[in-house]
């Protein structure tokens, strides 16, 4: 269904994002998973239920991971995503990077987003250097480009002689260093970091931050998931708080983090009711985003583009 957007006359803010690099248009994700309890099963017919029980397969439940998320990220922006465990941050990152299809909605991006996750293990039996080469080639680099970049990547990863060891011998921090080097090798326009720096030590975190700064200076944008508020505060120009799959706050890091920290403190102290009330209040006050496609597929009455 289409309608004329309700714009300027009523004094609504228009098109504050001029050059979006990422547009998340009304994304909803519903998972089905097996569950051994809870009683919120998806109703199925009796024979199917019996067959599943006979095969020892637990019943299926639906999990609403994301609900109608709409976001736009501008070029050069560095957006932090914060929220409780299981709030849908990683799911959103997977959708943006194209590794998960949304149940409804769509994501548009200026370039193929490069995502650096916590659990991407390449080929465990292969040495770090070869894994690095494989990852670079998988991102579409040519062998000559990889050769030219290799020394720099080895320097970024800073793994010393461990770069020649098989990756199965790596600690989680060492593997994270290698993955970070691979993901930033192509100078990605859009970089998604899903708790990528968390396992690293101080040296790696400093290098990682410097590399992220470089990417932002090249007009790239960074989507950054972290539970470390200090990290988010220093690295992000905007913070989005997601809870139970819905946007709660979106704005200046100082404001969002202050409310989020109060929320988490209340939860930790057991004041669930007041915490949830605070969250609901913040969600009510959120300025929603509506995206409008100006593309050739859309009709353009009168050319309202700014």
């Amino acid at each position: 269904m289409s309608a004329e957007p309700r714009t300027a006359p009523s004094g609504r803010r228009r098109a504050t994002v001029r050059n979006p690099a990422v547009v998340v248009d009304d994304v909803t994700v519903v998972y089905t998973v097996t569950s051994t309890g809870g009683g919120d099963e998806v109703p199925v017919s009796a024979p199917v239920r019996l067959a599943r029980r006979a095969l020892g397969r637990p019943p299926i439940v639906r999990n609403q991971a994301l609900t109608n998320i709409t976001l736009a990220v501008e070029e050069g922006e560095s957006v932090g995503f914060i929220g409780r465990n299981g709030s849908g941050k990683s799911t959103l990152m997977n959708v943006i990077s194209g590794q998960l299809n949304p149940t409804s909605g769509r994501v548009y991006a200026a370039d193929v987003p490069a995502k650096l996750g916590v659990n991407v293990s390449l080929v465990p039996a292969l040495s770090g250097e070869r894994n690095m080469r494989l990852g670079c080639l998988a991102q579409g680099m040519t062998p000559a480009e990889v050769d030219a970049k290799m020394d720099e990547l080895i320097h970024i990863a800073a793994l010393d002689k461990a770069i020649h060891w098989p990756m199965k011998a790596y600690s989680s921090g060492m593997a994270a260093r290698l993955r970070f080097a691979v993901a930033t090798a192509t100078d990605p326009h859009i970089l998604i970091l899903d708790e990528a720096l968390g396992t690293g030590d101080a040296q790696f975190q400093d290098r990682g931050k410097a590399r992220m700064q470089e990417i932002r200076e090249q007009a790239g944008c960074i989507l950054f998931v972290s539970h470390s508020m200090a990290e988010v505060r220093t690295m992000c120009s905007r913070v989005v708080w997601i809870d139970e799959g819905e946007l709660v706050m979106d704005g200046d890091p100082g404001d969002v983090i202050a409310v989020y920290e109060r929320f988490m403190k209340d939860l930790a102290a057991g004041n669930n009711k007041s915490a949830l009330a605070m969250r609901d209040e913040a969600r009510e006050a959120l300025v929603r985003t509506v995206v409008a496609d100006l593309g050739p597929s859309a009709a353009q009455p009168g050319g309202t583009a700014a």
Partner: protein, 301 residues
């Protein structure tokens, strides 16, 4: 300019602060995770050739890393398989009667057939075995079955050398002829067939992983019905039944390579036709089906 109006949005318009509208041009941005047109897909696949070759090479080199003999197993595996079948079917049972140079007949059959069964099963399971790469990077997913087929072609290189050495070394000795070179187009067509068949099965195995288990049994049945340790013309007298064997592209692969290597017979044009049509037909169908399902590989099972 079009803004989609969903019930949720209607609700936002009525309560809370007014929304802000972000205008963007979908022709400047690309939709993430969508399937490109087939021609563009093939261009992307060509662009990932460096990745495919490197992936195939390193996977072959680490495939026997956990063993003490390492790469020797690439040759030992087919050789021991040949000896096993020789022992069971050649010496204990008597299927050798009536087949000239039965040892070579059996070795060529097994070594050529196991290539297809390995490559097809691995290709069909490629979406599961390549999960780490799928989750980490965005490349046309058809690069994975291609890489697996390149890897299996490389390891088949070792097997072919072992096969030719055994045919040359185990009496009765067969004369070397120019026909041995015909093995190259036969293996090439067989590879295209394997690749296509793997791509055809991969979306189904991804959706229903149980099919992967059934596929191994199907390949076993296919093997026994392709005349691997018997010559079907000895058992089948009815012409119509014989047609069933001859329409089977893998039977043709076995029969043609035996003719070239052992019996000094040049395969006939209709045999080439069966193989060419089966290989390219399967490849085109497999590619189309695999591409149609490109978006589904993002869904975890």
């Amino acid at each position: 300019m079009i803004v989609r109006q969903t019930p949720e949005r209607a609700e936002w318009f009525s309560s809370g602060p007014p929304p802000r509208t972000v205008v963007f041009d979908s022709s400047r941005l690309q939709a993430v995770g969508t399937r490109p047109p087939l021609t563009e897909y093939l261009v992307q696949l060509w662009g990932s050739r460096h990745f495919v070759l490197y992936d195939a090479r390193v996977r072959l080199s680490v495939s026997q890393e956990h063993t003490m003999l390492g790469k020797a197993w690439l040759v030992l595996n087919p050789a021991l398989l040949g000896l096993t079948f020789l022992l069971i079917f050649g010496l204990l049972l008597g299927t050798r009667d009536g087949v000239e140079n039965f040892i070579a007949f059996l070795l060529v059959g097994i070594m050529m057939f196991t290539y297809s069964s390995r490559a097809i099963v691995a290709g069909a399971r490629s979406m599961a075995s390549g999960r780490a790469l799928i989750r980490g990077f965005s490349f046309p997913r058809a690069a994975l079955p291609l890489s697996i087929n390149v890897r299996d072609l490389m390891s088949q290189g070792f097997v072919l050398v072992a096969m030719i050495v055994m045919v040359l070394a185990i009496p009765p000795l067969e004369p070397i002829s120019w026909r041995w070179l015909l093995l190259i187009p036969i293996v090439a067509l067989q590879t295209i067939f394997n690749w296509g068949f793997g791509m055809l099965m991969a979306p189904l195995v991804h959706r229903i992983p149980d099919v992967g288990n059934l596929l191994s049994f199907a390949m076993r049945i296919w093997m026994y019905s392709s005349g691997i340790f018997y010559d079907p013309s000895r058992f089948v007298t009815d012409e119509r039944w014989m047609l069933l064997f001859e329409a089977n592209p893998l039977y043709q692969v076995l029969s043609m390579s035996r003719d070239c290597l052992i019996y000094g017979i040049t395969p006939e044009w209709w045999q080439w036709t069966v193989l060419v049509v089966a290989a390219f037909g399967t490849w085109l169908l497999g590619l189309w089906v695999f591409w149609r399902n490109e978006e589904s590989y993002a869904n975890e099972r």
